[in-house]
């Protein structure tokens, strides 16, 4: 039976444009192929093409690099090496000086860029690059987390949250369980690969079109590499063909190489990575070994908890500090951990440097405690949902291990609403009946919550700027520091500005993000895009609107509160004129109709050395009930039905928000099921193309997929009381993973199912054999 239902979104009362389920601003351009991505922009005449070449070894050094044949290839204009870098040869995001744009000779991962060919066509450059003659000296690489643990190799110091005395609590607990499992990484697989076009200007200026979530960082890295002031570099991005965190820090290297090529040749230069190179050369989600030890009472309530997350960071730190911190911040998910130790290790390996990916470490944190909840339930013979509910944050048990009070807790109400709407209890009984008569196919069900902290934990990133112009015809030019990667940020912010001016959405012109208009921005990340940029743009619009009101009140001789903006009109006392007419009058009266807007998130403080504070402005909540069927002979798995209830506060755009929820869920489902990154013993990624790395396709999405928005508003004063939505839904997919474990558990009730992620057929079959075979 096919049944796709989406609950009607709660209408946001009183608002004319914000809160409406409007189409993505580029929807028509998307479907007609008219939306331009960096590679679609008509190149300036004489544009050259840059292709990097990656190291054929994972660890060691290149002792000699003979590039004569490369250079001699007809059509090749230049070959770039580390020696060509005029500034600092480093594209690391946080100035660690660990990520050379081009290697100096040391190799730390397979595929690390050694040189780059600049040629008249991309095809010439790709073919020429393979003519290099390299001599290498290979050292044994550290590839896996376990190898790094054995050798004690880390790229950042360990970090711990503690509350009380977990060790003593564990010793005294009525019941105790321990376990360890692996959670795999994930390739972003944005459909548009990494790309940048650098156009040299006068005085050493560089104009860079980049597919990046972080234009400010691209600007800074390009300036650093070229050895010019930040002001000499402008970075622009109209849209990305997907980002998911993979273009937060990972876009910089390719923009820097394009800019370096433009600097060396004096010509516009474009670099677009081939898909295989992209997958080999750019970072991914951290894979993690979770090792846990839990003490609990006979009702399944936690008494003590000790968990260690060992994350594979790859060869350099990149964003791993924040990512693994966020793993720790979500080690509790929605549960109160009384006495606990949350310990993290940041393992260094000879693999590509892992980076931001939707959820930014949070999903790995959550998956740990959700597996623990199942284990407790299995041990006690309870329904896992009951164990979950008994451990939720609640009055008197509402402080996180890092000292933040969970003040906006709705998890129990939300979970119980979904428990009812998904008919969880009835279906659990039906599943038990099915399993009793089905020896090969076994079903499982799970209902898991999500509580996700919203704000950058690096506090200074919680700022945003906007620039708004009103022209004398009443049309509005909107610019802000957030970037559009498909998540609908541009349309949401435009809805806010249209709302403020009482204009239809079409009156607001959305323009490309550029460091030349709004400087010093943070990345579009941490789900915070509309929270931050929506508020900044609202501030800019309100400044202009305030000036227009002042002018109107004065020139019409009415009180300011008698001036109202709606439906493209301005009501001034008893008169009504068009918005454009008022704008024209303002310009003639020499009133400025341009303003910046700025926003910084209030209330957030974080003392990292002491592991305490309020790192998050608020939490976003959600829950998911998933039903799966597995084949216990082959390990194959199908997701049968998914019900989701998710909290976006008062939605700025329910259509966009539902799109984020569904898309995030499916991406999370891929992470935990079919998407497997396989590195061989030599450190080579063997799954470097969609032929071998399998993201979900249409048929993997359950035919019965029901998504509804929680009716509520943000307790905090966010833009129209909305909540962030980019990342939290990804973690709804943990329910699928737990439902698979539940199906395996049906083989031998009471057994603790040892299931690693991703739950590929092979992994599922291994767990099936472990459960059927004994302990």
């Amino acid at each position: 039976m096919t049944r796709v239902t989406t609950a009607p979104p709660p209408e946001v009362a009183m608002l004319a444009v914000a809160g409406k389920a409007l189409a993505h601003d580029s929807a028509v351009k998307h479907v007609t192929g008219r939306a331009q991505y960096v590679d679609d922009v008509r190149e300036p005449e004489g544009t050259l093409h840059v292709v990097p070449f990656g190291a054929p070894i994972a660890r060691g050094e290149v002792t000699s690099m003979d590039l004569a044949d490369v250079m001699a290839t007809p059509g090749v204009v230049a070959v770039l090496t580390a020696a060509d870098v005029p500034g600092r040869n480093d594209c690391s995001p946080v100035d660690f000086d660990q990520d050379p744009v081009l290697s100096h000779g040391d190799v730390e991962f397979h595929g690390q860029a050694l040189f780059a060919v600049v040629a008249e066509t991309r095809d010439i450059a790709r073919r020429a690059a393979r003519r290099a003659k390299l001599v290498t000296r290979t050292a044994p690489p550290i590839v896996t987390i376990d190898q790094a643990l054995e050798q004690g190799e880390t790229c950042l110091p360990d970090y711990t949250f503690t509350r009380g005395d977990a060790a003593t609590a564990l010793k005294g607990a009525p019941q105790r369980l321990q376990g360890t499992f692996l959670v795999g990484g994930q390739e972003h697989f944005y459909l548009e690969g990494q790309v940048a076009l650098a156009i040299p200007g006068e005085d050493g200026d560089m104009y860079v079109l980049s597919s990046t979530q972080h234009p400010t960082e691209v600007q800074h890295v390009v300036a650093r590499v070229l050895g010019v002031p930040d002001a000499a570099v402008t970075c622009e991005v109209r849209r990305m063909g997907g980002g998911f965190g993979g273009k937060e820090s990972q876009a910089s290297q390719w923009a820097a190489l394009a800019a370096l090529a433009a600097h060396v040749t004096g010509k516009p230069c474009k670099l677009r990575l081939d898909r295989d190179d992209d997958m080999v050369m750019t970072g991914k989600r951290h894979d993690v070994r979770v090792t846990w030890d839990v003490g609990f009472d006979r009702e399944g309530r936690l008494v003590g908890y000790d968990v260690v997350y060992a994350a594979r960071c790859g060869y350099s730190a990149d964003l791993s500090s924040g990512v693994v911190d966020r793993t720790m911040f979500h080690a509790d998910n929605a549960y109160y951990l009384p006495e606990c130790r949350i310990h993290s290790r940041r393992m260094k390996t000879n693999t590509v440097s892992n980076t931001a990916f939707r959820g930014f470490g949070g999903p790995q944190g959550m998956v740990g405690i959700e597996r623990v909840m199942d284990a407790i339930a299995w041990q006690l013979g309870l329904d896992p949902l009951d164990v979950r509910k008994r451990n939720f944050y609640r009055p008197g048990a509402d402080v996180t291990p890092y000292g933040q009070t969970v003040g906006d807790n709705i998890v129990l109400e939300l979970v119980e609403a979904l428990e009812a709407s998904s008919a969880y209890r009835t279906r659990r009984r039906e599943i038990a009946a099915f399993n009793a008569r089905s020896p090969i196919l076994k079903k499982g069900i799970a209902l898991t919550p999500v509580k996700f902290g919203i704000s950058f934990t690096l506090t200074h990133l919680n700022q945003a700027g906007a620039l708004v112009h009103v022209y004398s015809d009443g049309s509005v030019h909107l610019n802000h520091g957030g970037t559009e990667m498909g998540q609908g940020l541009y349309v949401k912010v435009a809805q806010v500005v249209a709302e403020e001016f009482g204009l239809p959405l079409e009156a607001v012109k959305i323009t490309a993000t550029t460091t030349g208009k709004v400087p010093n921005t943070g990345p579009t990340a941490a789900s915070a895009g509309s929270d931050l940029n929506g508020m900044a743009a609202q501030a800019a619009a309100r400044t202009i609107k305030g000036r227009m009101i002042d002018f109107a009140a004065e020139s019409y001789g009415v009180d300011k509160d008698k001036v109202a903006f709606r439906d493209g009109l301005v009501v001034i006392g008893n008169e009504t004129i068009s918005f454009g007419a008022l704008a024209k009058k303002c310009v003639l009266a020499r009133i400025s109709l341009s303003s910046t807007g700025f926003y910084r998130t209030p209330k957030v403080v974080w003392d990292r050395p002491n592991g305490t504070g309020r790192p998050f402005y608020y939490f976003a909540y959600g829950a998911c009930c998933a039903e799966t069927t597995i084949d216990v002979t082959t390990g194959e798995m199908r997701v049968d039905r998914v019900d989701i209830l998710h909290d976006v506060g008062r939605s700025l755009n329910p259509a966009i928000d539902i799109g984020q929820i569904e898309g995030g869920f499916v991406q999370g489902m891929g992470w935990l099921t079919t998407e497997e990154l396989v590195f061989d013993a030599d450190g080579r990624l063997r799954t470097h193309a969609p032929s071998t790395y399998k993201i979900p396709v249409a048929s993997d999405v359950p035919a019965d997929f029901r998504v509804a928005l929680w009716a509520g508003e943000n307790r905090e004063d966010t833009v129209y009381r909305s909540k962030a939505v980019g990342e939290p839904p990804l973690m709804l997919a943990i329910a699928v993973f737990n439902a698979i474990a539940d199906a395996i558990h049906a083989l031998r009730p009471g057994a603790i199912v040892p299931l690693d992620a991703p739950a590929t057929p092979e992994t599922i079959l291994r767990a099936v054999k472990a459960v059927s075979g004994g302990e």
Binding site: H24, V28, G33, Y37, R42, T634, G635, V697, A698
Partner: protein, 492 residues
């Protein structure tokens, strides 16, 4: 001899006389024509962002099929009409598929969207009405979207395909058919020189003559594999002989006892004929690549390239298929099983062509099963694929022919297991173990990114056990997650 490639684009004949043989349609569009609506996502025919549609006359009507432009060579457009995402809307008037995508919020980042629109455009014109979710997700198996989770795209397709096709393309269908029929009379073409060319023979004789003169030429069928030699391996293929316009190689002959397939019958065209032998063969074809790959790829090409895991080969070996080959004027037959000599090595001489294959139908008492395990159900290469033909007499197995893909360097029969099966009773499940165990003597699979050796063996054994159990009467509603056989579906 024609010295140009001729195809239709926007109602006009495009004549290309100056062509680098390896040029892909995607590069021609984006770099040559400057039409940048069509995107490059993976450059290996897997993600579908570059999907374009080819319209070709088949049996007197116009057939629209989606193909991956990134691994399709420009020469392969010869005789077809090329339709891209740039062509659908008339100014501000969106095509029904595009309008439904906008209405249902079917795009987020928008990068996969042109390909998805083109796949749905092909579905819209395929004419299946009423359409259901199953048909739509099959259509989309070769279109990766990383943003939406597909639900709104499926909804858009349900709406757009709710009514019979009625658009600008149906309005000028007869003109388009006439234009293409005119191209169908074009003779053989060779674009380039004796050293480097793209050749389009129109008869088997022409093809064989060419290959005798140029035994070093690359024989091109659908380019779903050869395309990657160009885009990923960066091989130089100066001489290409494409067989796609030889009508004799596209014939399907359904006889009572056998099915004859010309080598250039596409997977899409072979689907119904193969499914008629057994529903599991239909399921093998449904899960084979994607709609785009099946529209381009051919049964002969799939055999001739000798993939160790090609799903078709084990199924056809289990059915005791005979291969037909020709070199110059010499024709011969080969048993398919013996065609695969070693990894990457087939029993095919330079300049020799696979011209077709003969697949025996199931005879009374013969039962067939084909089962595939992969990380993802659709558009994935098998970790293990097993094909089983058991001959039963009453409740006893009297003969067995079993072949596996993914278990050895070539598709290979399981001789030990076959021998062990003979004489076993379908009533005694415990007795089957001897045959299942025998697989460990038939195969020593390898570990790779798709599966470990251990898992491959376990899965191969599980598939054999499942096949016997099903033949013994187990309801596939309780043995399979996908591809339940019609009798099980009917029983639900």
């Amino acid at each position: 001899m024609r010295r140009s490639i001729r195809f239709l684009r926007r109602g006009r004949v495009i004549d290309i006389a100056d062509l680098a043989p390896m040029t892909t349609v995607l590069d021609w569009l984006r770099l040559g024509e400057g039409a940048r609506g069509t995107k490059e996502g993976c450059n290996e025919g897997d993600c579908g962002a570059c999907t374009v549609v080819l319209a070709r006359p088949k049996n007197g009507r116009l057939v629209y099929e989606p193909v991956n432009a990134c691994i399709l060579l420009v020469g392969q457009l010869d005789g077809a009409a090329l339709i891209t995402v740039d062509d659908l809307a008339a100014g501000a008037d969106l095509h029904p598929v595009q309008a439904a995508m906008v209405k249902h919020h079917g795009s987020q980042c928008g990068f996969c969207t042109p390909g998805i629109v083109m796949s749905l455009f092909a579905l819209y014109h395929e004419g299946l009405r009423p359409i259901d979710r199953r048909q739509i997700v099959d259509q989309l198996a070769g279109n990766l979207c990383r943003c939406t989770g597909y639900r709104p795209i499926v909804d858009a397709a349900l709406e757009a395909c709710a009514f019979p096709a009625d658009d600008r393309f149906t309005a000028r269908q007869s003109e388009a058919l006439a234009e293409l029929t005119a191209l169908a009379n074009d003779g053989a073409a060779l674009v380039g020189s004796d050293e480097t060319f793209f050749a389009v023979p129109r008869t088997l004789d022409e093809a064989c003559d060419l290959l005798v003169r140029h035994p070093d030429a690359t024989v091109l069928a659908g380019a779903t594999d050869v395309g990657l030699w160009i885009t990923k391996q960066l091989r130089e293929l100066p001489k290409i002989v494409w067989l796609g316009r030889i009508e004799a190689l596209r014939e399907i002959e359904a006889r009572d006892d056998v099915l004859r397939l010309g080598a250039m019958v596409s997977h899409a065209d072979a689907y119904c004929a193969l499914a008629a032998i057994d529903p599991d063969l239909g399921e093998v074809m449904r899960r084979f690549g994607s709609k785009q790959v099946r529209a381009s790829g051919t049964v002969g090409g799939n055999i001739a390239n000798g993939s160790p895991i090609g799903d078709l080969a084990p199924a056809l070996i289990a059915l005791d298929t005979t291969l037909h080959l020709r070199r110059g004027s010499t024709v011969r037959e080969a048993n398919l099983e013996r065609f695969f000599i070693a990894y990457g090595k087939q029993d095919r001489l330079a300049g020799e062509l696979v011209t077709g294959l003969t697949v025996p139908r199931l005879r009374p008492g013969e039962r067939f099963r084909a089962l595939k395990v992969s990380k993802r159900f659709d558009e994935d290469i098998s970790a293990v694929m097993g094909a089983f033909k058991l001959t039963v007499d009453g409740r006893r197995i009297v003969a067995a022919r079993i072949a596996y893909g993914g278990m050895a360097a070539t598709p290979k029969r399981a001789a030990m297991a076959e021998a062990a099966l003979v004489g076993l009773s379908l009533e005694e499940a415990a007795s089957w173990e001897v045959a299942i165990d025998a697989l460990t003597r038939d195969f020593a699979p390898i570990s790779d990114m798709r599966a470990s050796a251990t898992y491959r063996m376990e899965a191969a054994q599980a598939l054999l056990g499942k096949a016997i159990a099903e033949i013994a009467g187990a309801d596939t509603a309780f043995t399979r997650l996908v591809g339940q056989r019609p009798e099980a579906v009917a029983a639900e």
